[in-house]
Structure formats: structure tokens, C-alpha cells
């Protein structure tokens, strides 16, 4: 299970303020804290805190300050591909691009860039018309992304399909469709693409978010989920990820498995 720590995001007030004041400290602290929690990648998102035209410089700065304190690979999260490219150029370890929908224009921008910088790509099962409800239509988009990986020479296991989970209180019918999508993605090619979720979305504005997040994580891992953008410092959630790895026989059991899961 690949944990992508979600916390370095300008949507959070402390990170937004840090970006506005060019204060590296909160960003570096969260990098280390998430690494300690069990993150394998760190998501990096400026959010709306930075004006559009300044985003490439902001991503360069974030990559630079994070890499000063942490060796963890980064997942550059933006719809601004110039900002992503500015960050990719500075990565010391192969990173991840978050994300690319199944739209031709964007695929042509993102996939060659991923190959050039040796980065993985998160491919979203949607286009400019929005997120489909049922698994079949999600999979149709996933197939387009798989074909794009083949076309542009991106190794198929460097493609992370995100079937896009929505909040369970307002879009409850999506949750089982996403589980089915994860199962179906695994049959699209051999080797299969990887799968990823923006896990915390499932509990947006719901009560007891932690419980919903960790329950859905277990269900999704059982369906074949490989990665999640999630709260790497929710210890119960990371414990669930570690326990699922054991129960799916992906990691060999030892009494200290919770601890080992967090070690690198």
C-alpha cells in the first residue's frame, strides 16, 4: 500500500499562510511529520493561496524546501501543468503527477512530460463533462488512459488510475461503483495499472470522518487499491492499511507488523 500524504496543501490554512509568507517551516514540519506517520509520497498542492501566474515559482519553492529536509518522493498536485513541470525539473527522486483526466489535450501535455521526467501519472476516470456514476463509464475512461500510456511509452505500472470517490453523504451511490471500478481496472492489462484514491473525499462533511475513511480504505484495498492520498498521521487509518496488507497476504506477518509497516 502506497500512502501519499495529503497535508501539504494550500487549502489548509497553515500551508496557505506559509505559501503567502514564503515561510518554509510549516511545510518542512509537515513533510517530516507525514514521513514519520508512514507516508511513501508527499502530495504537494499550492491550492488557491498562490495566484495562477506565480504557481510555477511556488512549486519550485515547495519542492526545494521539502527536499531540504526529506528524501521522500513527491506527488505534484495541480491542474496547472507548467507548475507541475517546474517542480518535476527539480525532483531528486522520481515523482508523481497528480493528475490527468481522460481528455486528449491534457493527455498529450501530461504523458510525454511524465516519460521525460520519469514520473508516474495519476489518471482520473473523467473528462470535461464530469465524473460518471457507474463503474462501466469510469472504466471506459480508464481504458483511454491505459491506451495513452501505451501510446506515449509510460510503463503501465507507473499509471495510477483514480476512479474518483465522492462524499458518501451526498453521492452515496458512487462508493460501491468505485469499488467495482478498482476491481475492473485490474483486468485491463497485464501488468495492470495501479489504482489510487483521494480517500478523504469519501467522508467530506460527514460525521466521524476517521471511521468512514478507514472503513472505506479496507474495502478499497480488498478490491485491489494500490495507493491512497490520505491522512498519513491518522494512526488508526495507517494501522488499517498495514493490517489489510497482512490479511491480503501482501506482506509477511510478524507480531510487530504495525511498526514494520511504518519503517523504511
Amino acid at each position: 500500500m502506497i500512502i501519499i500524504g495529503e497535508r501539504i496543501n494550500g487549502m489548509f490554512k497553515d500551508i496557505g499562510d506559509a505559501l503567502r509568507n514564503k515561510d518554509a517551516k510549516p511545510i518542512q514540519e509537515w513533510a517530516l511529520k507525514q514521513q514519520e506517520g508512514g507516508a511513501h509520497y508527499l502530495d504537494v498542492n499550492s491550492g488557491p493561496a498562490v495566484p495562477k501566474e506565480e504557481r510555477p515559482a511556488a512549486y519550485e519553492w515547495m519542492v526545494k524546501v521539502i527536499q531540504e529536509v526529506s528524501e521522500i518522493p513527491l506527488c505534484l498536485d495541480s491542474t496547472n501543468y507548467n507548475a507541475i513541470e517546474a517542480g518535476l525539473k527539480l525532483l531528486k527522486r522520481p515523482g508523481m503527477i497528480n493528475s490527468c483526466p481522460a481528455e486528449r489535450e491534457k493527455i498529450e501535455r501530461v504523458f510525454p512530460m511524465a516519460v521525460q521526467y520519469n514520473a508516474a501519472v495519476i489518471g482520473l476516470t473523467m473528462d470535461n463533462k464530469g465524473i460518471p456514476k457507474d463503474a462501466e463509464n469510469r472504466i471506459a475512461f480508464a481504458m483511454e488512459l491505459v491506451a495513452a500510456a501505451d501510446e506515449f511509452g509510460l510503463p503501465i505500472d507507473e499509471l495510477f488510475i483514480d476512479p474518483l470517490i465522492l462524499p458518501c453523504n451526498v453521492a452515496q451511490e458512487h462508493a460501491p461503483e468505485v469499488l467495482e471500478s478498482i476491481r475492473m481496472v485490474k483486468t485491463l492489462s497485464n501488468p495492470a495499472p495501479k489504482t489510487v484514491l483521494g480517500l478523504s473525499n469519501v467522508s467530506q462533511n460527514a460525521l466521524d470522518r476517521h471511521l468512514i475513511n478507514r472503513t472505506y480504505l479496507a474495502m478499497a484495498m480488498s478490491a485491489g487499491l494500490d495507493a491512497a492520498i490520505m491522512d498519513a498521521n491518522d494512526d488508526d487509518l495507517v494501522d488499517v492499511a498495514a493490517t489489510c496488507e497482512i490479511l491480503l497476504n501482501k506482506s509477511i506477518y510478524a507480531d510487530s507488523y504495525l511498526k514494520v509497516f511504518r519503517q523504511r
Binding site: 509477511i252 510478524a254 507480531d255
Partner: protein, 321 residues
């Protein structure tokens, strides 16, 4: 249509352990042994580098052992002299290492003192230049005392010492840590305990590259398939980046193979089994060769005739390296 060779890509390699130290490194060995480091399944040279060949450590005991005559007759008079015995193993059988088992320390036997045992170790160190593996008499209390004294008396030699087990690992791991030796971590045919023991030892501060796994094999016909599948699983775990299973593995082939009835019963007793001499050699040889196929890094062996056959087998398997 062209045939594409299917190659598995692994995330990690087996860890490498170095045993022995030359004068430049603070020891007195003439050479050191490196084991592990492999980046593929055993001998699949086309998939990844097989960094180090499997080595054979021949067993020597401090007092004459209760082995069968087939083996004993090949050593003759040196069985009373561990130093001379070790020298013969190295010079005549080309043993890569010496595996010295201190059975004389047993409280139910001669009950030799740690000091006496340390002297035997020193004698063997003086007699041969290869690295040494030292284990006690399998009495946990006595062995802790024994290995602490020996680890101290041989500091700098970078020995491989044993045996650490789940309910008795602290004392020997501490001795190895303080005096800079490597440790054998033994688990009873159980991959979960194997992994947990490595975690426990490493939590004491002993680096992962100073631990060797002893999966406690069964001999041919007596549970070897359990050991085989566990070793295979450990190797796959190591290659898939499970750091707590990425240690090289050591196998007590000589002990397990030679306690089988088939390695000891005369042809007159079991006519269907054929000649005892051939059978005894092959019982040990086949136990070893099967375990080579699942990643054994150190084979502990007894019978010189079996050692020769296994050496040839290793040479053949390494030929395309």
C-alpha cells in the same frame, strides 16, 4: 515472431553479510566471506546479479562427535584435534569456512568452561585462515555464558556466532554488538517468527547486515519441503523489499541429513535401499542441492564426499554468472 525473455523486476536485493576480518580490518583471517547480495531468484543470472556464490562451512567439533563411521573414517585421527581437523577441511576439502560446534560445553557431557572453549576457538583461528562460525552446545544458559566469553576473546575476528532464538536472543545479540560479530537468528520453520526475531534483534541495535537467518531446515525425507517453501517465501519477500526477511540464509545440512535413518542403516538391514556409502553421501548432497535452489547462502556440511559433489554443483550453477 521473436521470443522475448521474460524477466522479473525486483524492488530490492538480499542483504549482504561479511564474515571474517583480515589483519587490515583488525582480525587475523587471510580472507573474508561475503554472502547474500543477490538481486534475483537463485542462480537466475539473466534476471539479476548473483552477487556471491553459496559457501560451504564444514563442521568441526571440540570433542569427537558421535557421527557414523562413514564420515568419521574420512577424517581418521584428526577428530581428537579440532585445529588439525579444521586445517584438513580447508586444505583437503577446500571448505570456505569452518563451523565449530562446541558440544564439549554441554552440562550433561564434559561441561567444559567458557575459558576452555575460548581456547579451542583460538586454536582453530590459529590453524586456519578462513572465517569461522561458532555455536555452542544447545543448552541456552550455558551457551549465553559461552558465547559472551568467546565473543570477547575473539573481538576483531568478525565471527558468525549462534544461536539467537525468539525466547533467548538478547545476550548473544548484545555480545555480537559489543564485540562486532554477526549473529545466526534461528526460527522453528516459521516465517512469522523468523521475521519477528529479526525485528527484535535489530531493535536492540544490531544492524540488519550482521544477521543471518537459520530457518531450521528438515533433512531430505524429513520435512525438507517445509523448509524449502519457507526459504522460497523469505527470498521472494527479500526481493519484494521486505527488509526484515532480506538476510542471507544458513542451513544445518550436515546435522539434519545425517540423522536420517537412510544415511546410517546398512544395506543388509534394508536391501532395497542399496549401498550405504553412496546413499549416505547422496542424502547429505541432495539435502544441500535442494536448498541451493531456494537461496541457501551458507551450507553447514559434514561428509567430505558430499562436500565435493555440492561444490561441483555450485560451480555448475555459477558458470553463467
Amino acid at each position: 515472431m521473436a521470443v522475448a525473455l521474460i524477466k522479473e523486476r525486483y524492488q530490492n536485493k538480499v542483504g549482504e553479510v561479511i564474515i571474517g576480518a583480515t589483519a587490515a580490518e583488525g582480525g587475523t583471517r587471510t580472507s573474508v566471506i561475503k554472502v547474500g547480495g543477490d538481486a534475483a531468484l537463485p542462480f537466475l543470472h539473466f534476471e539479476g546479479k548473483i552477487e556471491n556464490r553459496t559457501v560451504i562451512a564444514m563442521e568441526v567439533t571440540d570433542i569427537p562427535p558421535a557421527w557414523n563411521d562413514i564420515i568419521k573414517s574420512q577424517f581418521g585421527d584428526v577428530l581428537n584435534d579440532p585445529a588439525a581437523w579444521a586445517k584438513r577441511c580447508v586444505e583437503e576439502c577446500h571448505a570456505d569456512m569452518i563451523y565449530l560446534k562446541l558440544i564439549g560445553a554441554s552440562p550433561e557431557g564434559e561441561n567444559r568452561s567458557p575459558e576452555e572453549c575460548a581456547k579451542v576457538v583460538k586454536d582453530v583461528l590459529a590453524a586456519v585462515g578462513v572465517p569461522l562460525i561458532i555455536v555452542g552446545c544447545e543448552d541456552p544458559e550455558k551457551d549465553n555464558e559461552l558465547m559472551a566469553a568467546i565473543a570477547e576473546a575473539t573481538a576483531g575476528e568478525n565471527l558468525l556466532i549462534g544461536i539467537a532464538e525468539q525466547d533467548n536472543y538478547k545476550s548473544i545479540a548484545a555480545a555480537a554488538m559489543v564485540h562486532k560479530h554477526n549473529v545466526i537468528a534461528r526460527s522453528p520453520l516459521d516465517i512469522n517468527i523468523c521475521k519477528q526475531l529479526n525485528i527484535l534483534i535489530s531493535e536492540m541495535g544490531l544492524p540488519l547486515n550482521r544477521i543471518v537467518i537459520d530457518p531450521m531446515i528438515g533433512g531430505l525425507g524429513y520435512g525438507i519441503e517445509y523448509a524449502y517453501s519457507i526459504m522460497e517465501r523469505a527470498r521472494l519477500g527479500a526481493l519484494a523489499n521486505d527488509k526484515m526477511l532480506s538476510m542471507p540464509m544458513i542451513c544445518t545440512v550436515g546435522y539434519e541429513a545425517n540423522r536420517a535413518k537412510e544415511a546410517n542403516a546398512a544395506e543388509e538391514e534394508f536391501p532395497g535401499w542399496g549401498d550405504l556409502n553412496d546413499r549416505a553421501i547422496l542424502w547429505e548432497t541432495l539435502t544441500a542441492t535442494a536448498l541451493l535452489q531456494v537461496g541457501a547462502s551458507i551450507l553447514l556440511m559434514r561428509n567430505p564426499a558430499a562436500v565435493r559433489l555440492v561444490q561441483q554443483n555450485i560451480n555448475d550453477l555459477m558458470e553463467n554468472a
